[in-house]
């Protein structure tokens, strides 16, 4: 904003000496104004759920043996309660802020230790394999959980298509960086773009999903459309949203939350009731819609499938 300077100060605007000298008045006025502003913003923040536009149905969805039979969390909760800092740090805001986010055209860049670096169009990727419904438990590091019928196919399908070199040991996922479309990125609460990573065997695991839908339809923008990763035995932040780049590397990638607070968020971040977050317990969780908390399960209940990936590792050290 351009603030115009008046060439001459009228005598009426000159601060009387008595007021000018009274600095404590200024402190008080500033404090009172600040308190009033906070109170007002809290009262006005009514957090009305944004109307959710019905997305297109995905045809030909196949069932999966990996699905849980636990009750599914209502769609309106999964699509209105989102930790999606690219849009807002308030979980109720991404639904409205991502409403007009454009997910086409969209390309996924394949880089690093692969036979052929390439850029893939999202619609061609979706044809790599038939869509599967995977009803997974999803546990947030904050202590709440949901059960979501994701739609996608194993990430291993994509990885096999792009032929990584044998020395590739890790996969790095880079999310979109575009502050003009993602207002949360105008604030540096995290390092942007959001980066996540998996060890190669984790990425190739049949449970690890390349996801583009949920509840039978195209993924809502606030849940990470058009393309995200879902890793059900790790805390939610490991499941990167809106990915634009998959990079194969021989070094363990840095992940955004680890960079933000290395003592609180590790690279592995496997769901583990025995390893607490430094500031809160991870022994229990609140499943959305439930009143009582429930015990958190080792590897979020997927220990039978994934525990062998970590045999011999000290999970307190590699948290």
């Amino acid at each position: 904003m351009l603030i115009k300077k008046s060439s001459d100060i009228p005598s009426s605007e000159i601060t009387p000496r008595r007021l000018y000298l009274n600095r404590r008045n200024f402190l008080t006025a500033a404090a009172a104004a600040g308190a009033a502003a906070i109170a007002g913003s809290r009262l006005l923040n009514f957090a009305a759920p944004a109307p959710v536009r019905a997305n297109a149905q995905i045809p030909g969805i196949q069932k999966s043996k990996f699905s849980t039979s636990e009750p599914i969390t209502p769609f309106k909760d999964v699509s209105n309660y989102n930790n999606y800092y690219e849009f807002s740090t308030d979980k109720y805001e991404p639904a409205a802020l991502a409403k007009d986010f454009k997910t086409r055209p969209w390309t996924l860049e394949i880089t690093g230790l692969v036979k052929k670096k390439q850029k893939l169009d999202v619609d061609s990727i979706l044809k790599f394999a038939p869509p599967e419904e995977r009803i997974y438990r999803h546990r947030c590091v904050e202590g709440w959980s949901i059960v979501v019928p994701w739609i996608g196919f194993p990430l291993s399908v994509l990885i096999n298509k792009v032929d990584p070199l044998p020395k590739a040991r890790f996969v790095e996922f880079v999310s979109l960086y575009d502050p003009s479309r993602m207002p949360g990125q105008r604030v540096s609460v995290l390092q942007w773009p959001y980066v996540e990573g998996l060890r190669m065997d984790e990425a190739m695991h049949p449970l690890t999903l390349l996801c583009f839908g949920m509840y039978g339809e195209v993924l809502p923008n606030q849940d990470g459309a058009p393309l995200r990763v879902v890793v059900p035995w790790k805390y939610g932040f490991k499941s990167a949203k809106t990915i634009v780049k998959v990079n194969f590397t021989d070094k363990q990638p840095l992940n955004s939350w680890n960079v933000a607070a290395p003592n609180e968020y590790g690279f592995y971040s496997n769901v583990n009731p025995n390893v607490d977050h430094p500031r809160w317990s991870q022994a229990t969780e609140r499943r959305l819609g439930e009143f009582h908390k429930r015990p958190t399960l080792m590897f979020n209940g997927y220990a039978d499938q994934v525990a062998s990936l970590y045999s011999g590792m000290d999970l307190k050290k590699y948290f």
């Binding site: 008080t28 404090a31 809290r42 957090a47 309660y81 740090t89 979980k91 500031r279 609140r286 009143f291």
Partner: protein, 220 residues
């Protein structure tokens, strides 16, 4: 008479956040995680009302509206009221009265430790908020005791600061307002120590009848 109506108004205004929570809860409008909303909202209003309480004395000095002091006790008690609700959501809806888990939390989680400290410090202030207690303690000792509100407010803001994951903007707002309010006190105290003046550093509680004021012999 006007003061009485204004007090009734302030009373209901302080209840508005709770009424809004209850209304939204009743109509299922508290979102996907209602308990989290209740926890955050009661915590927010505790801090807001603590800061309002701390604003009254400076505002009164600034504007010369001495009657403002008559609202300080009520707002302060409402801060304690919301703190109690906040504490209750923690021991009931988060810990389900699991004493072992609570003790572990208090010992290990510094944001819980500092938050509990903020709450516990408010208890003697709420308990001694009556004219009878001012009389029993004597104005000077009462004033000294009630300076605990500064410690409580600082602990409350730190509690919030240590709780957030990465976005410190909201705790920073509270911290900024609190810093200004404390800066005012420091300013007044330094000014006073350099040039001794007749009045007490903190305005004494004037919120009782003329009879009790005469009895307690507090300066206006």
């Amino acid at each position: 008479m006007t003061i009485r109506w204004a007090k009734i108004f302030v009373f209901f205004a302080c209840l508005a956040p709770l009424a809004r929570l209850a209304w939204k809860g009743f109509h299922g409008l508290l979102g996907a995680n209602p308990i989290e909303v209740i926890t955050h909202s009661t915590g927010d209003w505790t801090l807001i009302l603590l800061l309002v309480t701390l604003s009254i004395t400076p505002l009164r000095k600034l504007t010369g509206q001495l009657w403002l002091i008559r609202f300080r006790r009520m707002v302060g008690l409402f801060a304690f009221f919301y703190a109690s609700l906040h504490f209750t959501t923690y021991i009931w809806l988060d810990k389900f009265f699991d004493v072992h888990a609570m003790l572990k939390d208090i010992a290990e989680r510094r944001f819980i430790t500092v938050g509990l400290t903020a709450f516990v410090l408010l208890i003697p202030l709420a308990a001694t908020s009556t004219a009878g207690w001012i009389r029993r303690l004597g104005g000077r000792r009462w004033n000294l005791l009630h300076q605990l509100i500064y410690v409580s407010a600082i602990c409350g803001v730190i509690h919030y600061w240590w709780l957030v994951k990465a976005d410190i903007r909201k705790p920073l707002q509270y911290a900024a307002v609190l810093a200004l309010l404390l800066a005012y006190r420091v300013f007044v105290w330094t000014a006073k120590s350099m040039k001794p003046s007749s009045h007490l550093p903190i305005a004494p509680q004037l919120q009782y009848t003329s009879r009790s004021r005469a009895e307690t012999n507090l300066p206006e």
